[in-house]
């Protein structure tokens, strides 16, 4: 069974307590949003997630999207759910008030996104892609385009897509062929075929606005000759209503492993009218504005599924009766003990739990940097936030989606045979989670981005906010006498040392031989993610101890659980850092040893 109730206490913890001193300062812009107000937003979002999105999650997976005569339909109930969602203002939560958004901070928005992704990740793509598209338009399009499209898109009346992939080019966008012919009126005629377009067409909104990468005639070869265009499905009329059909058609939808209620379309552009967004040949830059926010959001998809997988597994582990505890029966009144008594089941549940809590905390840190990057008045803070976001984006994307899939897998395992059959809806988590490791840049590409671009830039300046924060916390906690905290700190120091050494090794070796950096990339990203989560758990434990010492009242259980959960992380998860370090240290040698012919 798919069980979900948003972890509101933990969300409030990361939002209000954990990062009170995040190094990015409070933001004046958000002062009007009091903690109470934000808590209320989270509570309402939880209701929408539980009551509107969760009920159509499993049915939507079974029914899937359909394609007939060029028309794409979402599963039953999706249109109604979308209307409720939109009318409740959830589509415009973090958008700029200038275009009708509510201007909430990303720190809150990312928590709401987590709830949506947990309860219906297929659904999340429709508003999610629209949000990404509005970001790119806001950042790069002309005022005219902004006024014509942003209000409708921000309100959720129209949706958005990003059309990058073509059948022969995925990761290597330099190969793309879609053409853009300049017209006398300043518009362009776009011609070409795109595949794998999420939310590419559907029946939820009146219009679909495509952001399309294409090549203007005579453009330089490769990625330096790609431009970004806005291409609507229907041409808008001056009054904002929907007009004539543009030369955009759907050739079909993909049949996928999961994410079945999200329409993944093949789209043909046939002399479709489009307008340039940003400068000619600078499409990659404009697209990356969108990709970067999207990558963090894809990470949140992993986190969302992680959380619902955990909750669903816990529910089952508490009620499934099989065998007896190794230390003697715990429920002699019943035919057998619930399986939660078993250490190995505990191992699985605790793993899912620390993944979720660790990622939630790390994601929150990153979301606050996103806010500071956009809104801080202090240029130094802004720079620091930009550096931090640049570094953490690939980590959040790859780590969260890897762990999300692992968690979904563990949930299936907890259910045993009942996890493998469709009835309980648990296998859906694994199928739905799988794609997030692939799209928006595969996790391998994220790791390369981290070691190849983010790490060496400006003599490693991107590393500074993160490394200094960890170093300072270790330094602060080292003299603490409490036994548990001492052990946690020791663990983090060791893993951090491994990260520092690995960083220096990669910087040194990678400069001489880029393949060395490539060989270390995935392990290095995981190592950084582990240290990031370790930092969050140590900080959380420090706060929890302080709160308990001053008397936590009703929250006592929460703080005690936080310390115990952190204990599991430091005992059972963080030691993986050493393995990562050893793997990194071995270099590319064994990866490249085998002749190609021997494969």
């Amino acid at each position: 069974m798919q069980v979900y109730d948003a972890p509101l206490r933990d969300m409030r913890f990361v939002l209000h307590e954990l990062f009170a001193d995040d190094g990015f300062g409070g933001l004046k812009k958000f002062e009007e949003f009091t903690p109470d107000l934000l808590d209320a937003v989270l509570e309402e979002a939880n209701k929408v997630a539980k009551d509107v999105l969760l009920p159509i999650n499993a049915p939507g997976d079974i029914e899937g999207c359909t394609y007939e005569n060029g028309v794409v339909r979402t599963p039953k109930g999706f249109k109604a759910a979308y209307d409720t969602f939109r009318e409740g203002g959830w589509a415009s939560l973090a958008s700029d008030p200038e275009w009708g958004g509510q201007g909430l901070p990303e720190s809150v928005n990312k928590l709401v996104e987590e709830m949506i992704c947990a309860t219906n990740v297929s659904f999340s793509l429709y508003p999610g892609l629209t949000h990404g598209a509005t970001t790119a338009i806001e950042g790069h399009a002309s005022d005219e385009l902004k006024h014509a499209y942003l209000p409708k898109m921000v309100s959720g009346e129209w949706s958005g897509t990003m059309c990058l992939t073509e059948s022969h080019c995925g990761t290597d966008l330099g190969l793309l062929r879609t053409k853009a012919d300049p017209q006398p009126d300043g518009s362009f005629k776009i011609t070409g075929s795109k595949i794998f377009i999420s939310a590419g067409d559907h029946d939820l909104t009146d219009n679909v606005i495509h952001l399309v990468l294409a090549r203007i005639a005579d453009a330089p070869a490769g990625v330096k000759g790609i431009s970004l265009f806005l291409v609507p499905k229907f041409m808008p009329n001056d009054d904002g209503s929907v007009g004539a059909r543009n030369g955009v058609s759907v050739a079909g939808i993909e049949h996928k492993m999961g994410l079945k209620a999200s329409a993944t379309c093949q789209i043909n552009f046939d002399d479709a009218t489009g307008w340039l967004v940003g400068q000619p040949h600078k499409g990659m830059a404009a697209m990356f504005t969108m990709m970067n926010t999207e990558r963090v959001s894809v990470g949140v998809q992993g986190l969302g599924i992680n959380e619902i997988a955990y909750q669903s597994a816990v529910a089952y582990a508490k009620e499934r009766l099989q065998g007896r505890s190794l230390s003697g029966a715990k429920r002699p009144d019943l035919a057998a003990d619930p399986i939660i008594v078993h250490p190995d089941v505990r191992r699985m549940l605790m793993t899912m739990r620390v993944y979720a809590e660790g990622c939630r905390a790390l994601g929150q840190w990153c979301a606050r940097a996103l806010d500071a990057e956009k809104h801080s008045d202090d240029p130094e803070v802004k720079q620091r936030a930009t550096d931090f976001v640049a570094l953490m984006t690939p980590v959040v994307k790859a780590l969260f989606t890897d762990l999300g899939f692992d968690a979904a897998n563990l949930a299936v395992q907890t259910y045993g045979g009942h996890g493998y059959i469709r009835e309980h809806g648990v296998e859906q988590f694994a199928r739905d989670a799988r794609i997030a490791m692939i799209y928006e840049g595969t996790n391998g590409v994220q790791a390369l981005d981290l070691v190849g671009r983010k790490l060496p830039a400006n003599m490693g300046r991107n590393l500074r906010p993160f490394f200094h924060a960890v170093s300072n916390l270790c330094e602060e906690m080292a003299p603490k006498q409490d036994k548990a905290l001492k052990a946690y700190t020791g663990g983090l120091q060791q893993a951090f040392g491994a990260l520092q050494l690995s960083t220096a090794t990669i910087a040194q070796k990678g400069m001489k031989d880029p393949e060395e950096a490539g060989a270390a990339a995935t392990d290095y990203l995981r190592l950084m993610g582990l240290v990031g989560m370790g930092y969050c758990f140590l900080k959380a434990s420090k706060i929890a101890y302080a709160k308990l010492a001053e008397g936590a009242g009703d929250d006592e259980g929460f703080y005690k659980a936080k310390i115990a959960t952190a204990g599991f992380f430091f005992d059972r998860i963080l030691p993986q850092a050493t393995a990562m370090f050893l793997a990194i240290k071995s270099g590319k040698r064994s990866l490249m040893a085998l002749d190609e012919a021997a494969f």
Partner: protein
């Protein structure tokens, strides 16, 4: 034994004459600078005096020190020409007009002593014409000494002798130019433009014409014709802007009027309406409103613009695409890139290299002279014949022949033999007769470059090496990027000490990079800072202190021989040596405060010790303290070795070498002179000013801050420095040991490096190359 030159007269106080006079003075030799009597005014020496006054304000400075400026005596030709009798050498550097020069020589002939050398600094007039009508004695005493601008900094001197020139006299001038003026002398034949300017002018003409003909933008031209060919990054058009666009037609006219008929140079001569227009409108280069490049300030912002060679209009600078493949490193690849890039590169190289080959025998005796002339006169990294070797011996002739162009005889006879080879550890060059001969260095010159060719290092780490430089002396060479100091250098020092102790008499620290060392590897340090590797940084500082101290107290003499920049740690290794033998062009300083750090490898104590022991220093700890504080806190860099002595980086007993080529030999001699009875120095104890000294310094710093001469962070850094220099908790009655001072230094360094404001400064320095004033 030749009589040394003890006094020089320079006639003509224009840029070149005055600059030559300054360089003579820099060598510590008195010089008489004469010019004509001005038409107006009462001071008959005003022109020469004005030239000296102007030089005192010129940057880069022609004088190495104020003391040198005092060695220049000014006068005028009408009243003082008779005083050439006091001089051993007369340099004529007046206007390039044959009649005027001849009439001056006539007057000179009447007053000068026989045997006093007379040389002209002409760059275009043949020697034979200059001495027309002079006595045999004058002809014996006459030669051409062609300096390059600016005379202090350009290391080339072309010497041309005539058939009558006395060989001993010419050698005497050559020896003086070499040892005292620091020039590398190249003997040229009496042909127009001599060597460097003849090839240089041809090169620029070919490159400018080709850019216009082939539709190459000036940015592309400078990219292709610049660093891939080992030419300074000003390339072609950037160089013309630097030397003056208006010089182009002058050079062209002068060479055209003197070169023999049929010289390939004439093929490059053509009308240049664009250049004429530029000169007419005042676009004469950097000295004018701009040249091929300019800064457009019309929009309130400074926008870099470039001249479009086709339209003749300025447009925004266009950064050219990166050169494909290995074309930026491999000449053979460069000239075969299809399209514009390869065509343009080949046009330049094909012409200039074959022209150079043609000039062997005509303008110079051998390829070495031509390569030296271009390397030292035009700052090319490789001479034409070294470029031919890079292109591939044989390939140049092959392609010329394939295109139906004449192949110079030298190229034909060379075939596929390279112009240079190494045989038995010796560099050899190919003569016109087709045999290899050793490249000979001037007498007494020892180069590490040659030693390295003939031997293996005694020790080697990632950033340094130890060499046997002969006569029982070993040398530490820095080998890292920019000769930066890092843990690998420290490692080598630690390994070297026992080895030198066992097998050598003395150690020198020396290298032949363009800069001795700009200090610790800041990029590496910044990376360590970014990943919060504090313990590594601490180890590096402590390790450096220990290694430098080990050098200082080693049981053998250690001499550092800097040339070029010796900054930060590069300065501190010199300070920790028993003696310094510096090249005259040494720019030494403790610049750490500029990036928010303080010296961390013993520089503070060494400077305090020098100040305390200085002769003129008043008693008590305060005067020494304020002198040292001022030097370090303002990150002062000496602009010459002479100035370094005034700033006390060099002691009075330290030596200065004028000729870069002779630095190693001088350093060795210095080190060997210390060997007999050598005992390591006694560790100093310091009497420092303590709290009260700090109060005084802090007051002064706050005052600077109020006046806007120091930023708030400057004040913080100054406080940290003052803490060290005053001995921390020390009281004025306590003495502070060297180790205590080093401990203070480490503490202050670490506090600085952890400060985000220091991090911002270092980062700005690394990314923009400019200091950040936060």
């Amino acid at each position: 034994m030749m009589e040394p030159i003890k006094k020089v007269c320079v006639i003509g106080s224009g840029t070149m004459g005055a600059g030559i006079a300054a360089q003579v003075a820099n060598a510590g030799i008195p010089v008489l600078l004469l010019d004509i009597v001005p038409k107006e005014g009462t001071d008959r020496d005003a022109i020469a005096k004005g030239a000296v006054a102007k030089m005192l304000k010129t940057d880069p400075a022609p004088f190495m020190s104020k003391r040198a400026a005092k060695l220049v005596e000014t006068g005028n030709i009408d009243d003082h020409l008779g005083r050439v009798a006091e001089c051993d050498w007369v340099v004529e550097a007046i206007v390039e007009r044959l009649d005027i020069k001849q009439s001056l020589y006539e007057k000179l002939e009447a007053v000068k002593k026989p045997g006093t050398a007379v040389s002209s600094n002409t760059s275009t007039i043949p020697l034979a014409n200059l001495v027309e009508g002079r006595s045999d004695q004058f002809k014996r005493d006459f030669l051409i000494t062609h300096f390059f601008n600016p005379p202090r900094y350009m290391r080339l001197l072309e010497i041309v002798t005539g058939p009558d020139t006395d060989a001993d006299l010419a050698r005497r001038v050559e020896d003086f130019a070499d040892r005292a003026l620091g020039k590398r002398v190249v003997r040229a034949k009496d042909t127009p433009g001599f060597i460097a300017n003849r090839i240089g002018t041809y090169w620029l003409a070919v490159a400018v014409n080709a850019a216009m003909d082939q539709g190459v933008t000036i940015e592309q031209a400078d990219q292709i014709g610049g660093s891939p060919m080992g030419v300074p990054k000003t390339g072609i058009f950037g160089l013309i802007d630097l030397v003056g666009v208006d010089l182009m037609p002058l050079l062209s006219a002068s060479l055209s009027s003197t070169l023999p008929k049929g010289d390939p140079y004439f093929e490059t001569v053509r009308e240049m309406p664009l250049v004429d227009k530029m000169i007419a409108e005042g676009y004469t280069g950097r000295k004018g409103k701009g040249g091929f490049y300019r800064l457009d300030k019309s929009g309130g912002k400074r926008v870099k613009q470039s001249l479009d060679l086709t339209t003749g209009e300025y447009r925004a600078e266009q950064k050219p695409d990166k050169l494909p493949g290995k074309a930026d490193k491999d000449l053979a690849a460069l000239v075969t890139v299809p399209g514009k890039v390869g065509d343009y590169a080949w046009t330049i190289l094909g012409h200039v290299l074959s022209y150079s080959a043609k000039l062997v025998g005509e303008a110079a005796d051998d390829v070495v002279a031509i390569d030296d002339a271009m390397k030292l006169g035009y700052n090319w990294k490789f001479g034409p014949f070294e470029l031919i070797d890079k292109l591939g011996p044989g390939k140049l002739a092959e392609r010329l022949a394939a295109e139906g162009r004449p192949v110079p005889a030298l190229l034909k006879s060379a075939g596929t033999n390279p112009f240079y080879r190494v045989e038995n550890g010796k560099r050899q060059y190919l003569t016109a007769e087709g045999v290899y001969r050793d490249v000979e260095r001037a007498e007494g010159v020892v180069l590490l470059e040659d030693i390295k060719r003939a031997s293996q290092p005694l020790l080697k780490t990632g950033s340094a090496a130890l060499w046997d430089v002969g006569d029982g002396v070993a040398a530490i060479e820095f080998t890292g990027k920019m000769n930066a100091l890092d843990e690998e250098v420290i490692k080598l020092i630690n390994q070297a000490i026992p080895l030198v102790k066992a097998n050598f008499k003395a150690l020198i620290v020396y290298n032949e990079g363009s800069n001795f060392s700009a200090g610790a590897n800041l990029g590496l340090a910044m990376f360590a800072v970014n990943i919060a590797a504090w313990s590594e940084i601490e180890k590096l500082i402590a390790g450096g202190q220990a290694a430098f101290k080990a050098l200082k107290y080693a049981p053998f003499p250690v001499v550092s021989a800097p040339a070029g920049l010796a900054l930060g740690g590069g300065c501190e290794i010199c300070l920790n040596s028993d003696a310094i033998q510096a090249h005259a062009e040494t720019y030494i300083g403790l610049v750490e405060c500029g990036v928010g750090l303080i010296p961390g490898w013993g520089g503070n104590g060494e400077m305090l010790d020098r100040a305390a022991k200085a002769k003129m220093m008043p008693n008590g700890p305060m005067p020494a303290l304020s002198k040292v504080f001022q030097t370090i806190s303002t990150a002062t860099v000496a602009k010459s070795a002479a100035e370094a002595q005034e700033l006390m980086f060099l002691r009075e007993t330290d030596g200065i070498t004028m000729n870069r080529d002779r630095l190693l030999a001088d350093a060795k001699a210095k080190a060997l002179s210390l060997v007999d009875g050598y005992t390591p120095p006694e560790p100093p104890t310091f009497r420092l000013a303590g709290e009260s000294g700090r109060v005084g310094i802090n007051g002064a710093v706050r005052d600077f801050q109020k006046k806007g001469m120091a930023t708030s962070y400057d004040a913080v850094v100054s406080d940290r420095l003052a803490e060290v220099l005053t001995g921390g908790e020390a009281d004025i009655i306590d003495t502070v040991t060297e180790d205590q001072l080093l401990r203070l230094e480490r503490k202050a360094f670490l506090a600085s490096v952890k400060d985000p404001r220091t991090q911002a400064r270092v980062e700005a320095m690394l990314t923009t190359g400019k200091p950040l004033r936060n």
